[in-house]
């Protein structure tokens, strides 16, 4: 199906990802706001997980079931947008592998995968967004999460939008394109190795002298935030969508909620639609 922009707004199904859904809903609201600012209508259909944990654990049966569930929930939208390079990469680059040799499925999967985008890549590459109306008082450093970078080619897009944030300064860290050691279940299967990798990442973040760390994947962000906090470092860690949506003043990952945030959460975003 194709979008017909002249007769109705572009419809976007927001797949929040299971981590954002459960642990950090504010990223979902930030994403919704940005997609609306890009002139689209946002819906949040009922959803669970894209299946990546099962896929990377070798469980094809569960992965396949979750993929079918995902497609059923999202295929009616013009676009499917995901605030995570790794989940978007899972769908866009790996779903087709699950249906190889099934002529009934393959064209349907190809059509579906074509409209799946990581959030920032959707804003810049699809919607042509070059700037956002947000301000952030701080020096940030940006970590390129592996799947977004190497599976989807996301590198310049977040930097383009961050450059338009008023007051924000970007201080690149060394090896921003090197893995943070999260790796999904890897970090709990091989905690010692994962720790050695995130220690190097933390050292690079600290050496950048940034006061804020941003990235596009909550898993990586939680890993790096958790390490920096365990080291006693006061570096704010946020999803890039939060800063782009002007939510940079809210508590960062691992910070306690303030009294006013609870209020804010019930106040509602402007224009949240079905």
């Amino acid at each position: 199906m194709t979008a017909s922009p002249h007769t109705r707004p572009v419809s976007v199904g927001l797949f929040a990802t299971c981590l954002v859904d459960t642990l950090r809903p504010s990223v979902g609201f930030a994403a919704a706001q940005l997609i609306e600012e890009a002139g689209c209508e946002v819906s949040v259909p009922r959803q669970t997980c894209c299946g990546q944990p099962a896929f990377n654990s070798g469980d094809r049966v569960t992965t396949r079931a979750l993929a079918e569930q995902m497609i059923a929930a999202f295929e009616t939208f013009d676009y499917v947008v995901v605030p995570s390079g790794s989940c978007a990469g899972m769908i866009k680059t790996h779903y087709p592998e699950l249906f190889v040799g099934e002529p009934d499925w393959m064209p349907r999967i190809a059509r579906f995968c074509d409209k799946v985008y990581e959030l920032v890549s959707f804003l810049v590459d699809v919607r042509g967004m070059t700037r956002v109306s947000a301000a952030y008082d701080g020096t940030v450093t940006y970590h390129d999460s592996c799947s977004g970078l190497r599976e989807l080619g996301i590198k310049a897009q977040p930097r383009t939008l961050l450059a338009s944030v008023e007051g924000l300064e970007l201080a690149e860290m060394a090896d921003s394109d090197v893995c943070c050691g999260f790796g999904g279940t890897f970090c709990v299967k091989y905690p010692d190795v994962s720790n050695a990798i995130v220690e190097k990442k933390a050292a690079n973040i600290i050496a950048s002298h940034a006061d804020t760390l941003l990235a596009g994947d909550l898993g990586c962000l939680m890993n790096m935030a958790g390490k920096l906090q365990r080291m006693g470092r006061d570096i704010k860690v946020r999803h890039v969508a939060e800063v782009l949506a002007g939510q940079g003043g809210d508590p960062a990952i691992g910070e306690p909620a303030r009294a006013d945030t609870a209020l804010k959460q019930t106040a509602g975003t402007q224009g949240a639609q079905a």
């Binding site: 299971c18 809903p25 669970t48 070798g58 469980d59 569960t62 890897f186 299967k189 190097k200 910070e255």
Partner: protein, 486 residues
């Protein structure tokens, strides 16, 4: 030395490696030396990405017609006066090499760098047969005198520092003056060269590996930087080439393409210092060369890979770029992988050669960051192949129980949205209350793997889906009310 398989103890190996200060110091140089040089070499060559495609295609073509090329290669070696021996497994390869050495009346053999000799555990076998193997590659020489296995496929002693080498040289070269100065790498190199020179001349047989075997001409090719391979293969009366069957390429033209990506990917050189072509034994009028030329081609499970999901692994040209760029390899080094081949290429190849039962840790010990695939000169999809091993492991119920049960528990909910949503709401409600004051947890039940080294953030409260629905309802209500007031 033959390598004991310790891959099942990867976790313990990794912990030991992480606590090994000299090793960590040596490993810190891996990224610095290899990564920058490779990327500079690739950037200098505009057609580098196209060459990678071409390299992949050459290897794919060869693998698709491997039977024909093996036959042609054998014919050409025989026509040049050499011998070809096919070995099904490691034991047969060892026996063939030992037999050739015995027939040559060998007491000592010199060896150029060959990973296949490591794979078949040749040195132990030769020693047991009363034949002294002498490694002539500097890195291989170092690990031989230390009784170690290589920790990298092109830099076997990369885990060592020069202080350790000095200590070993003083121990092993006890006949030299104890007061000699060995503080500089150049003095260590000079001493190794001096020690090895006599061995080169005394050797009865020289054994080398092969980077490529050329079907068109029956030529074997080695790529080195030290020149030791040339002395190993030209000075003794007998030259044995040890190679595995995926080293075949059709023509010299193909080799010249592959050479353009090999050294650049490996060390960042445009070409390695020595690229040596050998075709058969010495001919009448040749100034040097062996009187007998043997090639031992090892299968050891590779023909089984040809037909299956792991065929793409047989494109590997052993440059080592995948391990140089691997965060896990950089953290723990090669010995932690517990056999001959470390890093991402080892994580795919090792289970194929020693079995998934013993090798299961290796394809699991990857973050799937994809940097290996991004630099592989023959574009092997290493993460995909590691995932295939995880699938085999899962299908055969070899996945460790905690992981299996954890996955099943999660999958039960993820596949049932109507249960997943209330269950996650309840769980997040509980966690957000518990961790509200601090904003994070320093310890959580069942999450010890995470909280051992990092804090875990407190969930913000209700789930995104529930909050979104609540807002939508509130808006709908607001609209109805506004409508009613009108």
């Amino acid at each position: 030395m033959s390598v004991q398989i310790t891959s099942p103890q990867f976790k313990a190996n990794a912990r030991a490696a992480l606590a090994d200060a000299p090793l960590q110091q040596a490993l810190s140089k891996v990224g610095l030396s290899f990564i920058g040089r490779r990327s500079a070499a690739a950037a200098k060559l505009p057609e580098f990405e196209a060459l990678r495609d071409s390299a992949r295609d050459i290897k794919n073509h060869t693998l698709a017609h491997l039977d024909l090329y093996l036959e042609r290669y054998e014919q050409q070696v025989i026509a040049a006066g050499g011998h070809v021996h096919f070995a099904v497994d490691a034991a047969e390869a060892r026996d063939i090499v030992t037999r050739i050495c015995r027939e040559a009346g060998a007491r000592t053999v010199t060896k150029g760098k060959t990973m296949i000799a490591e794979e078949i555990g040749l040195n132990d076998h030769l020693e047991a047969a009363g034949i002294q193997p002498v490694e002539t590659d500097l890195g291989e020489y170092l690990i031989q005198i230390r009784g170690e296995a290589p920790s990298h496929i092109i830099a076997p002693a990369i885990h060592l520092n020069k202080e350790q080498v000095e200590e070993d040289f003083r121990r092993v070269h006890a006949h030299l003056a104890p007061e000699r100065n060995l503080s500089e790498p150049t003095s260590l190199l000079a001493e190794a060269r001096g020690e090895l020179r006599a061995k080169f001349l005394a050797a009865d047989v020289g054994i080398t590996g092969a980077n490529f075997l050329v079907a068109e001409t029956g030529t074997s090719i080695i790529v080195t930087n030290e020149g030791n391979g040339d002395l190993t293969q030209t000075l003794p009366k007998t030259h044995i080439v040890l190679a595995s069957l995926e080293k075949l390429v059709p023509t010299l033209e193909d080799v010249s393409q592959l050479l353009r990506v090999l050294a650049r990917s490996a060390t960042g050189q445009d070409m390695s210092v020595y690229t040596t072509f050998s075709t058969g034994p010495r001919r009448a009028g040749d100034v040097d060369g062996p009187q007998a030329y043997h090639v031992v081609i090892l299968d050891n499970g590779r023909s089984g890979m040809l037909a299956g999901a792991f065929r793409e692994m047989l494109r590997c040209i052993r440059c080592g770029a995948c391990m140089n760029h691997c965060p896990v390899y950089q953290a723990v080094g090669g010995h932690a992988y517990g056999w001959v081949y470390p890093g991402p290429m080892g994580a795919v190849l090792t289970p194929a050669l020693i079995g998934i039962e013993k090798g299961a840790n290796l394809p699991n010990a990857s973050t799937f960051c994809g940097r290996c695939e991004a630099v592989c000169p023959v574009r092997i999809p290493l993460p995909k192949l590691m995932r295939h091993w995880r699938e085999k492991e899962f299908e055969r119920h070899l996945t460790p129980a905690p992981q299996r049960y954890g996955l099943a528990f999660w999958a039960f909910f993820a596949r049932r949205g109507w249960l997943y949503r209330p269950a996650t709401r309840l769980a997040m409600w509980g966690l957000s209350r518990l961790g509200k004051a601090k904003g994070r947890f320093a310890a959580l039940p069942l999450a010890g793997g995470w909280t051992k080294y990092r804090d875990f953030p407190t969930p913000q409260g209700d789930t995104f889906q529930a909050q979104w629905q609540a807002r939508r309802r509130a808006q709908a209500q607001g609209q109805t009310q506004r409508g009613g007031n009108r």
